[in-house]
């Protein structure tokens, strides 16, 4: 499936490790979909399944995003630089409810709440891993 340009959501993205790796990431495993790999352009979505949604609970932060299961494809764009990466959903996350109200800004414009997690490979396409989080628009 190709990455599209229809607006889906907006918010913060963070990054996470998965699959075989070094250090504490070595225990991460293949994620909810069993295919997650830090070196692939993949993502975690808070509503990847009903079970996933019951953990992440983005609705408690006012984020009622649609369900997009394993294998769904999204375009993630940095709200300021315009850098874009096409990702495939491969895990459940982030835990939106744990950081309700958190904002990330650039050029004076902010996005609120963690709505997607990217693998290091994907996050590094649109930003710097040491920033930890970025404000993004999401398309499909």
């Amino acid at each position: 499936m190709a990455c599209g340009s229809t607006s889906l959501w907006a918010g913060e993205t963070t990054w996470f490790c998965c699959g075989s790796s070094w250090g504490p990431c070595g225990s991460a495993g293949g994620g909810a979909c069993g295919t997650c790999n830090s070196s692939a352009h993949q993502a975690a979505w808070p509503n990847a399944s009903a079970a996933c949604f019951s953990i992440t609970r983005p609705d408690l932060c006012g984020e009622n995003m649609a369900r997009r299961g394993c294998g769904s494809v999204m375009n993630v764009r940095h709200q300021c630089s315009g850098a874009t990466v096409c990702v495939t959903v491969a895990d459940c996350g982030p835990r939106t409810q744990s950081f309700c109200g958190e904002s990330t800004c650039c050029n004076g414009s902010c996005r609120t709440n963690r709505v997607i997690d990217l693998t290091p490979a994907a996050f590094s396409v649109i930003g710097n891993l040491s920033s930890g989080k970025l404000p993004v628009y999401i398309y499909e």
Binding site: W22, R95, Q97, S124, L129
Partner: protein
């Protein structure tokens, strides 16, 4: 007085030209500050485009460093793959903080972003050494460390508080060196550098949630 400001696209193309030229020319390593502006805070202040808008795909590598030969890092990927990472004057290096290539050691883990070169190496634009970004629960608090649980199995992790480095953000608020508001049971995102020697993490930033 006039003031010329290049577009992000222009800066990206200039940067790639510098990077590949440096790699092909066998540039010496001078570390992250050669071009400046690539650490986290600077990246926020002046958002940078992807490595180069003119190329659809940048190169990426992950793994542990098995050897360092001059300015080339030999890296064993976690899936049995091998990488040669060429550091140049344009390479930004992060290891707990923006630093220089001299801080990189055999046995370190890394993520590297760059450009595939004709000789099979990756000319690195950025190298993040031992970086982790873990969702954790705070299990204990000591003067110089946080005891954390990470992952579905609540894997125990020790997060070391590093003087003059560790900062905290409470629900995304401004960074502060005051960690006194961290509480047991809170969710916390730990951005830091893994320590291969003892499997602990030096904390660069703890973002405290609910």
């Amino acid at each position: 007085m006039s003031h010329r400001q290049d577009s992000p696209e222009r800066r990206g193309i200039d940067r790639r030209r510098f990077l590949t030229t440096a790699a092909l020319g066998g540039a010496t390593i001078v570390g992250a500050s050669a071009l400046g502006g690539l650490d986290a805070d600077a990246a926020f202040a002046a958002p940078m485009p992807s490595l180069d808008p003119a190329i659809a795909k940048s190169a990426f590598a992950e793994g542990r460093i098995t050897a360092i030969n001059g300015s080339v890092l030999e890296v064993a990927g976690s899936y049995g793959d091998q990488h040669l990472i060429q550091l140049t004057n344009a390479t930004s290096v992060w290891k707990l903080r923006p630093t220089t290539a001299e801080e990189i050691k055999v046995g370190d883990g890394l993520y590297a972003r760059g450009v595939d070169m004709p000789d099979g190496t990756i000319a690195a634009d950025a190298v993040w050494v031992n970086i982790v970004n873990l969702y954790c629960t705070v299990k204990g608090i000591a003067k110089d460390r946080l005891h954390l649980a990470h992952g579905a199995q609540d894997h125990a992790v020790v997060g070391r508080i590093v003087a003059d480095t560790t900062t905290a953000s409470y629900l995304g608020g401004a960074l502060t060196s005051d960690l006194s508001r961290v509480r047991i049971g809170q969710s916390a995102q730990i951005l830091g550098a893994w320590r291969p020697e003892d499997d602990a993490i030096d904390i660069a930033r703890v973002t405290v949630g609910h």
